[in-house]
């Protein structure tokens, strides 16, 4: 008998197992569908509505909502399947708190638990029983509440399904939370990386700015020193010319004077470099085709002088076919090129297989480019000088543009200002310098903004056949007596009638009394009014008054203002007789 009974029990067990399997399959299907919704849906409200649909049949509910806790501790629906839930507010008591801990709570009679006391009588009649379970996380608590109009509707099976769904939902939500936290962390890290990049760029900018400020400060100092030196040098440079015009000098005396003049000219060259270091030195710019400028330079004596004795090196020049019109001071660009070439040649000195390459090209910079300097977006004519020398050491890289920093003999002039000059020239040309250096060599690229090639503003050659004057009266206006004397002597020797005024006021007074064919007008005079104001006052009563401007400083705003009023060429002190003669002749001939 026992055997028969055991068979019966085995049958019962089998049936039980079958029922369990069916239930498990149903539960698994529901869980899978629910999890799919949770994982795939990024929008909470949308996902909750999908979950309502997924769970509606298995849990056999009539209405459902998802409740979330507010700052006041009350629960309100964040999603609902029935509009009657929309305005409900729930004060969590025992049942909801237990549900929050993860164990579903089935309510056979909603009239009894404290949570339902806030709801109206009609609501309770329509929702006699309920099932509530957690589907949130500790960080984001949420309750799934579903109801049925029949009392004691929700069964063990419903509770079991809810328990499993709750558990997996919590895991899914935690996963989503984790993903969100990871995303947030990644965003934070990315933000920190961006911030770090900004800090790096800021530091880079600050470093570059400091460099610019340093170079500008040094330039200002150099300009100031140069002005004073100019005044001192004027005598050394100018008087030899006057002496050499005298027929009374013997050969020996002539050689001595010529030596003095040559020394003065070399000193003047250093001062010229110093003046170039001053910002604004290359303000007088004209439209220049960079390719033509390079060709002329390569054909000129300065280039040939550079290559003298350097037959061992390989030099290549690549000039683009594309027109590269730039607004430039030809002489300054040549000066920059000379300095770069001199450096390149110096870098490959005594180096077998040394090579220098010069190249022009047109480059379009779409996005600001972080090179040695930050190169703005735009079209550029790029002049590149490259060598295959040993490169520039990292510790020197930052400071090579500083005056007198050179550890080797940088710069053709040997003044220690070569690259400083290059840097200042590029600043004056609104351009950029890029520097690439390493074991394979060094490459300087000068970025000049390209301008539309209008063909205008072409350089004009001046005729220099006849410097001499024909008795025209020229008023020299300068606060420095020696400068007045030098200028007057030169002009007298050139056949002009030279008169002098020690300041602007005196010049104005003179011209109110007498005319002058031309003014040689110093710009910076102290005390008294400046050259610009002097010219301005004069042109009020002599609007066609011709003038050339001289100054120990580089071309500046005052000079430009005076030129705007009608003044002619600008001549930098100290000037040579020939330069003065040409400038005076040209201005007098200007209509």
């Amino acid at each position: 008998m026992a055997h028969t009974e055991e068979l019966r029990e085995a049958l019962l067990d089998l049936e039980e197992a079958r029922k369990k399997e069916i239930q498990q399959r149903q539960i698994s299907e529901v869980l899978l569908a629910g999890l799919q919704v949770l994982v795939e849906s990024r929008n909470s409200e949308d996902s909750f509505h999908k979950i309502f649909e997924v769970l509606r049949n298995p849990l056999d509910f009539h209405a459902a909502c998802v409740l979330a806790s507010g700052p006041d501790g009350l629960l309100t629906p964040i999603a609902f399947s029935d509009a009657r839930f929309e305005k409900t507010v729930w004060k969590p008591a025992g049942a909801f708190r237990r549900a929050m801990t993860g164990k579903p709570v089935a309510v056979f009679d909603t009239a009894a638990p404290a949570e339902w006391r806030l709801q109206g009588e009609d609501f309770l009649k329509e929702n006699r029983s309920a099932l509530v379970f957690s589907m949130g996380t500790e960080a984001r608590p949420a309750l799934f509440l579903c109801t049925h109009p029949e009392r004691a509707h929700f069964s063990r099976h419903h509770v079991s399904l809810a328990a499993r769904f709750s558990l997996l939902a919590a895991q899914a939500m935690m996963r989503l939370d984790t993903e969100q936290r990871v995303n947030l962390l990644e965003e934070k890290l990315a933000a920190e990386a961006r911030l770090a990049e900004l800090h790096r760029k800021l530091a880079d900018q600050e470093r570059k700015l400091a460099r610019v400020q340093k170079l500008e400060g040094l330039g200002l100092l150099a300009g100031s020193v140069a002005h004073d030196l100019n005044n001192i040098l004027s005598g050394i440079v100018s008087y030899p010319d006057l002496l050499l015009m005298s027929p009374d000098l013997n050969q020996k005396q002539r050689r001595i004077v010529e030596t003095i003049r040559a020394a003065g000219l070399r000193a003047a060259a250093v001062v010229q470099d110093l003046l170039t270091v001053t910002r604004g030195a290359a303000v007088a710019r004209e439209v220049v085709p960079l390719n033509e400028l390079l060709r002329q330079f390569l054909a000129g004596p300065d280039y040939q002088a550079l290559l003298t004795g350097r037959e061992d090196i390989s030099l290549s020049v690549t000039i683009t076919d594309q027109p590269l019109p730039i607004r430039a001071s030809r002489i300054h660009v040549e000066k920059a090129l000379t300095n770069l070439l001199a450096n390149a040649l110096d870098a490959i000195r005594d180096r077998a297989g040394g090579a220098v390459a010069v190249k022009t090209e047109k480059r379009h910079v779409a996005q600001p480019l972080g090179g040695y300097e930050n190169i703005g977006a735009g079209e550029y004519a790029v002049l590149t000088v490259a060598d295959n020398g040993p490169g520039i050491a990292d510790e020197d890289r930052e400071r090579i543009f500083e005056p007198f920093y050179a550890k080797k003999k940088l710069g053709r002039s040997g003044t220690g200002l070569g690259l400083t000059i290059v840097w200042n020239i590029m600043q004056d040309h609104d351009g950029y310098i890029d520097l690439e250096t390493g074991a394979a060599g060094t490459q300087f690229s000068l970025y000049f903004p390209i301008i539309p090639d209008t063909g205008a503003d072409k350089p004009t050659d001046i005729a220099d056949a006849d410097y001499r004057g024909h008795g025209e009266r020229i008023l020299v206006v300068d606060d420095q007596e020696d400068q007045r004397l030098i200028a007057c002597n030169m002009l007298t020797n050139l056949g002009y009638e030279a008169v002098a005024a020690a300041g602007g006021e005196e010049a104005v007074a003179y011209l109110q009394e007498k005319p002058a064919d031309l003014l040689v007008l110093d710009m910076v005079m102290n005390p008294g009014i400046s050259g610009r104001e002097t010219y301005e006052r004069i042109t009020r009563f002599r609007p066609r008054q011709k003038a050339i401007i001289v100054s120990g400083y580089s071309l500046g705003a005052d000079v430009q203002a005076a030129q705007a009023l009608g003044a002619g060429a600008f001549l930098k002190k100290p000037y040579r007789l020939e330069e003065l003669a040409r400038a005076v002749k040209k201005e007098l001939g200007r209509s």
Partner: protein
Amino acid sequence: MKIAVSWSTNPDSLQAVEEAYGSLMEKLAVPPGIILAHGSCLYDSAAQIRRLAELAPDIPLQGGTSCLGVMTEQGFHTRDGYGLGLLGLADPQGSYGAGLAAIGTDPAAAARAALEAALSQAGRPGETPAAILVGSAPGHEEEIIRAIEGHVGADVPIIGGTTADNDMSGQWRQFANGRVTDAGVSVAALFPAGEIGFSFHSGYEPTPHRGRATRTSGRILHEIDGRPAARVYNDWTDGLIAGVPATGGSLVPTATFTPLGSPVGQVRGVPYYRLSYPVEVLPDGSLLLFTDVLPDSDIVLMRGTPESLVTRTGRAAAAALDMAPFGAEDVQGALVLFCTGCMLAIQDQMDIPRASLAVTLQGAPFLCAFTLGEQGCFLGGENRHGNLMVVVLVFGPPPR
């Protein structure tokens, strides 16, 4: 969750309860969430329960009298008809409550009142418990089940035992929370943090003898297939009750191995049965059963053997574990309700069911009470009252 079981066969009511409670607390070490108490009717139950309530104030208590004593994993505890057993269930994350009501004239109302009291004490008014324990005086078990189902829903498993005395003399009593009745219903509402499993087992098999209950009234089966029920039963059992006086006489324990059965449901065409113990032949040739019998229901003569009764307890526990969502290794403890008639029939062999329970439950503590009727939940989910049954409720850990 932690479960401990203790017992005492001290004939002194108070000493017995103090011994058992002391032992329980020693094993449990933490205050229990509920105490289930079952003891023989020879004790002064009122004094015992009052004392227990003093010892464990505010702790829900539910139980009733058990024939002769109790059985635990340690043995069958009875001495001269005395025996007390306690099951303490410590479960801080769970909730438990107990209630007691006199049946009076309205068993259903009493059941609802006791249940409401239990839910209230558990702090879970309106919430559906995981299971409900019931202990009632004999006679109204079906009404009580229907009332409870009507209140919380038919899906909640009802586990119960009709309180028993030692000799069917009406000394049974029901307890809850310091109170005792002799004609009442005690209820416990269980909201454990962990999972549960349960089974309702007969251990009997049907014989070919079957008929239809053509006339019934309550628990009286007047006729089977139009003939006096006692005569039919006597024929089916080959004259088992021929010696019982026609004017009426007790069939206990004569009918223990040949109860009547009613099919409750079917599993793939094979019916399973609720057992009814024919306890008395009435003067009109009717049989008084220990369960209600429905008119026109199928009546089947069931048959058991001492061997089947001895072995079925372990199988019932295994069945409870089969339906539980946890394994035997995770069982925290169990409550077993075992038919008094069966126990009396195999009293000398009770160590066998004890051992089989202990093996099946892997040494977990259990408390087994002996009852005059059993209430349980069949495989199909039907809560029923039966006789000669065994009910097992196992407690497990929370779901992982």
